[in-house]
Symmetry: C2
Subunit: 182 residues, 2 copies
């Protein structure tokens, strides 16, 4: 058995795993959890928490929380495996869908919160604007704030439609999955 070839394989895998993991902070995912994701990615079979802990040299507790984070983002799923009592996990191989789910879950949520605040404050400021006895200086400030908020709302409505186009996969009509050459 040529262990040298094996080492080449593992080296190649590790490079990818580490790079992916390092950049997953964009997903709000910690490096360790990213390593876990990468490890699962190159696994042909599903893994148990113990196997993960073994592979990463980390505690089972960490694997438990890490795998839950990944499940919340739909990047990993729990697999039914009869005959064993342990939970088995598998990576979701559809990178596009992973991106979409992440984007939907995180950005949609933030977007909704922001819109809510913006609308509420806009309403208050519009009411204030109606008031007759408003100094010129204050009226000016109120109107500036209203403009700023309206700008923000425009943007978040757009962002919401963008996310819609991801979720519905319509975005792939515009930016197709595969390009012919290159």
């Amino acid at each position: 058995m040529d262990t040298n070839q094996e080492r080449i394989l593992e080296k190649a895998q590790e490079r990818v795993i580490e790079t992916l993991a390092r950049n997953m902070d964009l997903y709000g995912i910690t490096m360790s959890t990213g390593l876990l994701y990468g490890t699962l990615l190159f696994q042909d079979k599903s893994m148990t928490l113990d196997e993960m802990g073994e592979a990463l040299g980390m505690s089972k507790t960490s694997m438990s929380t890490g795998v839950r984070t990944l499940m919340d983002l739909n990047m990993v799923e729990k697999i039914w495996k009869k005959g064993t009592r342990k939970d088995h996990y598998e990576v979701n191989l559809d990178w596009y869908q992973n991106f979409i789910d992440l984007f939907s879950v995180k950005w949609r949520h933030a977007s909704e919160q922001n819109v809510h605040s913006l609308k509420k404050s806009l309403q208050e400021l519009r009411a204030l604007q109606q008031s007759e006895e408003l100094t010129d200086e204050l009226r000016e400030r109120v109107e500036l704030s209203i403009r700023r908020i309206e700008n923000g709302l425009d943007y978040y409505l757009w962002l919401s439609r963008l996310i819609d186009s991801f979720e519905s996969h319509e975005i792939f009509q515009f930016v197709p999955k595969k390009e012919s050459d290159s």
Copy 2:
């Protein structure tokens, strides 16, 4: 002077500022820096580091680093102001462009790193694949890894084209900035 009206205005602004700031971790931006951004947003005039520190009750050093973070993302810019020795900063009011810049800067960078690793490892594995004396078991593992990596590359090429469409503003043809009603 009715200080009550002023309080309403400030309350409305603070709500927005705080919500925006809280959600800016999606941008990899800390809450404090988010508050700084929000503060600048409702400012009619440019601000100096001292004014920011004053407004947020934080050290000038923090303002310095915070403002640099925002500048790196093109969300804030330094303003020429003659007659004073202090630097002045202003928020970039184009939310769409802020989003695009953020996305470009962060995701493009991550994407490029990932593609680089994926390609390098793919090359190594393809070479390994050529090798005649490869056990069936190892060949199987190599081929699985290659498939995984190819999947990833497909995705990142797509992502790159998506980012292109943001940077070129072509995305607005597909998801227009303004919708007629609603």
